[in-house]
Symmetry: C2
Subunit: 523 residues, 2 copies
């Protein structure tokens, strides 16, 4: 298939929107030009995965599966949830009722009981857990599924980020004998998510969401947030300690060793295709996608440099050299592709840079004479915006490609971490108990406002904030931000701005003793 968006002339290429100045426009353009998603489907908030986008999606989720498969088993539960089940957990449904799609007709028949399309699957899965679990020997139980889920989003929708059909929702659900076991599982899930996002080279902050913003029905929620180029944070993963609340609603009990019946303790944790959005948004540049080699559908593209006017023999041997290199890379397990199309090399460079292929190998007649080829990294450009070319002898192609793919993976991860940490500001309050509070608070708010200013401020600011919803809400209202929550599971490097981080302080609103919390504008 031909992508209408792909330019046929170099002038079109230059028309690419700049990421720095207009992230939103850049994001839309890149989804189209790199053939990730087609947004022209005639229903709001749902999109079409192009083949290239779906390959990226499959590699990302393939890795997620391999992490989960160590201790979880994959299952699949139905999309339909009967109204009665969905409504049983009072707090849970309050969190979702405005967002649920309802099936009310089959053929021309009105259905007696409307069926909800799962917004998430707790209420589909837990009635079945009730019949699966009898004894302590059935625990722990750890399952996951990767399914489409549905949310009737009334806000502005956005591909991969705010969707009416989440096509690739990974939801894990675990059941344990004790709360301690469940909390241990939360830690394991955090470790698993770290491995996952590290492989995507997507850096994150980990917080415990404030009580008023936790998952409906959970005891508490842990969240991973990434920083997007427009300096807003995007929630990319959540882990919930459910405790006994759903167990009590759905009457899930087990017989303990001593014969007594006890409620189970549960956790659940989810990741959606926002993980793909983060990869695209964080690493991409004005020339297109920059994919981490670990999940790039094509890790190496081989471009033959054949001059049509000159002798065909030479052309033929260039082609042969390309095939030899391709075969060697393939044998080494490197996902490679030879671009044999009739286009000019420049058009090929443009296309594969747009698609984020980490490494390009060029082979021309002169290279053949030198028994070598040229490597060009996607992630490197000198100050004149020109690509560095490095001569590599044919004999070293596999070892050098392997080494450089590793280096690219590390390099874009480091760059992304730098971008995150340089946009975290550690705010050390000046206030002491006996200062004039009113004035002081006014000044602090003004200063914080500048720090979180839309577009020019830092992305994330660390402040002291108490646990009360009143204080949190007031700070959110005054600054136009969200409280991400208390920083947990140490994850920043100390590279943040704002000097040495004090760990004890007083709430920026009520002045009571408080811990640190992250605040940010969010998606």
């Amino acid at each position: 298939m031909r992508n209408k968006a792909e330019p046929e002339h170099k002038d079109d290429a230059i028309a690419m929107v700049q990421k720095e100045n207009n992230f939103s426009g850049w994001y839309s353009e890149i989804l189209k030009r790199a053939e990730i998603l087609d947004v022209r489907y005639p229903v709001k908030g749902v999109y079409v995965w192009y083949p290239y986008g779906y390959k990226l999606r499959n590699l990302v989720y393939g890795f997620l599966r391999s992490l989960l498969d160590k201790e979880h088993e994959e299952v699949q539960f139905p999309l339909f949830i009967p109204k009665e089940e969905l409504m049983r957990e009072k707090e849970h449904i309050k969190g979702f009722e405005d967002e649920v799609f309802w099936v009310t007709k089959g053929g021309s028949t009105e259905m007696e009981i409307p069926l909800a399309l799962r917004p998430t699957s707790e209420t589909a899965i837990y009635p079945v857990f009730k019949v699966w679990i009898r004894s302590h020997r059935d625990l722990p139980l750890r399952i996951y599924q990767i399914v489409n889920t549905f949310r009737y989003e009334t806000k502005h929708t956005r591909p991969l980020i705010r969707l009416r059909e989440i096509t690739s929702f990974k939801e894990a659900h675990t059941v344990h004998a004790t709360r301690a076991d469940a909390e241990e599982q939360v830690k394991k899930a955090v470790a698993l998510y770290k491995s996952f996002f590290d492989r995507l080279a997507v850096p994150y902050v980990i917080t415990k969401r404030p009580a008023w913003d936790k998952f409906p029905g959970a005891d508490y929620s842990i969240a991973f947030d990434a920083l997007m180029p427009d300096r807003r944070t995007m929630q990319i993963g959540t882990i919930h300690l459910l405790g006994e609340s759903f167990a009590k609603t759905f009457d899930i009990k087990y017989e303990d060793k001593d014969g007594s019946l006890k409620f189970v303790n549960q956790t659940c944790y989810g990741i959606s295709e926002r993980c793909v959005a983060a990869v695209i948004a964080i690493h991409g540049d004005d020339h297109g996608l920059v994919l981490p080699p670990a999940v790039a559908p094509i890790q190496v593209v081989i471009v033959p440099i054949v001059f049509s006017s000159k002798g065909k023999d030479k052309g033929k041997s260039v082609e042969e050299a390309c095939v030899t290199v391709y075969e060697e890379l393939k044998r080494a397990g490197i996902r490679s592709f030879i671009d044999n199309s009739a286009e000019r090399p420049g058009a090929k460079y443009y296309r594969w840079e747009m698609k984020g292929v980490p490494l390009r190998i060029e082979i021309g007649p002169r290279d053949l004479e030198n028994n070598s080829c040229e490597f060009v990294r996607r992630d490197e450009r000198d100050q004149k915006q020109e690509k560095k070319r490095i001569q590599i002898p044919f004999s070293d192609v596999v070892s050098e490609a392997t080494r450089r793919l590793g280096a690219i993976q590390d390099s874009i991860h480091e760059a992304a971490k730098d971008a995150l940490y340089s946009h975290i500001y550690i705010y050390n309050h000046k206030s002491e108990e006996n200062m004039e509070m009113e004035m002081e608070m006014g000044m602090e708010m003004e200063e914080l406002k500048r720090k979180v200013e839309d577009g020019t401020g830092f992305g994330i600011v660390s402040v002291f904030l108490c646990n009360s919803e009143r204080c949190g809400q007031e700070l959110e209202d005054q600054l136009g931000v969200s409280v991400l929550g208390e920083q947990v599971y140490e994850n920043a490097t100390g590279a943040e701005t704002g000097g040495k981080k004090k760990n004890k302080g007083r709430c920026v609103v009520c002045r009571k003793e408080a811990k640190r919390a992250y605040i940010a504008r969010t998606y």
Copy 2:
């Protein structure tokens, strides 16, 4: 998780329903006991995939994917189809309108335009093909997706077979410049389906469905049918030549080399989780599943024979021997599992036979002394219903396991083919043009009725039948069968019953010249 259905005493094991006498009861029991699907979900026609069932499903679809990936690209289109698009192809919607689920509410808001849940995706995909395809250079275009689809079935639903949520619908859609190219693709799809079902060891007949039973909107439909143990056929795969009909409805044109605009020619072909149902139904026996090694989640189960009363040292070395064998098998790419549970060996045999594991390796203290282990095949039983045990030296475990897994695959495939062919009856009409037609026809109908008798007759009968809907319907009504269609793509071996097959004859109803057609009771 513990499966409540698994018996704790041998007596329960015996309570397994017999496949021969009560296929329907046997099928339900086995889905539960082998942990394929849990049918206790509180919505009609939708079910829960257990972990073991889902592993089988993933292996089956993984192979299907690998076949498709050679010439198709995987994509994903939305579940929602706007009413207007679904209604555009008149003939198509007539075929589906009674079966469509409608989403009419989001939150508490009535939706302006009701959204259909895809019953199949032609009307979701083809409006997008219209914008993807411009030139002959964009053709052929071959894509597929594996998605959940929905049918408001009002008939009796049945797990994996007749569903309201088809969880795993593989639908391929291809676009070509000419009708000849599209017909060539139909042939390729037939070859692909043959490879697929051969790997599942599921034999089939291939027919061209009668015109009145083709896919709504298609020029013609090719179908694969398997014979179920109750001697009814089940459609397990279909391939449709769409020609230009959808192209005209959705205005899909391409610019040919000469600059002229032409309608594209299309095909589509689908397979659902009925392919898994066929594997279960066709190979299983009164002791449970019998899985083809190619798709068995566990190909070899290793059972240590440890006598708890005797010396622990011996037990330990048995365990070590099991681990050594397991590691060797794993290195050779054989999916293996050691059953280290505390149960008696008999209970383990029962469980893994139920789950259809093709090969069991038993290792006990006496085997250690002989430096060997015992192989037991799932598919073999002597006349006393006892399993044959074969001594295999440890040094030959991998080579012998590989060889025997291959032999099991072939053996159950051959057995299934025999079961199919011995239930096909070739009916050679006695009639000649100048016979007394009335009487003759009455006699033929009586004879045919006996041949297709429910339960005792043949499964499939080959008769001469003309193409007219009137004759087909009359035959269906009189015999209580369906016309599968004209036999195409030679696939039976000549092992059918009924003697030498005449290829020319007269329609069993109207006596006009006719080709052969298969008739059968169907799912």
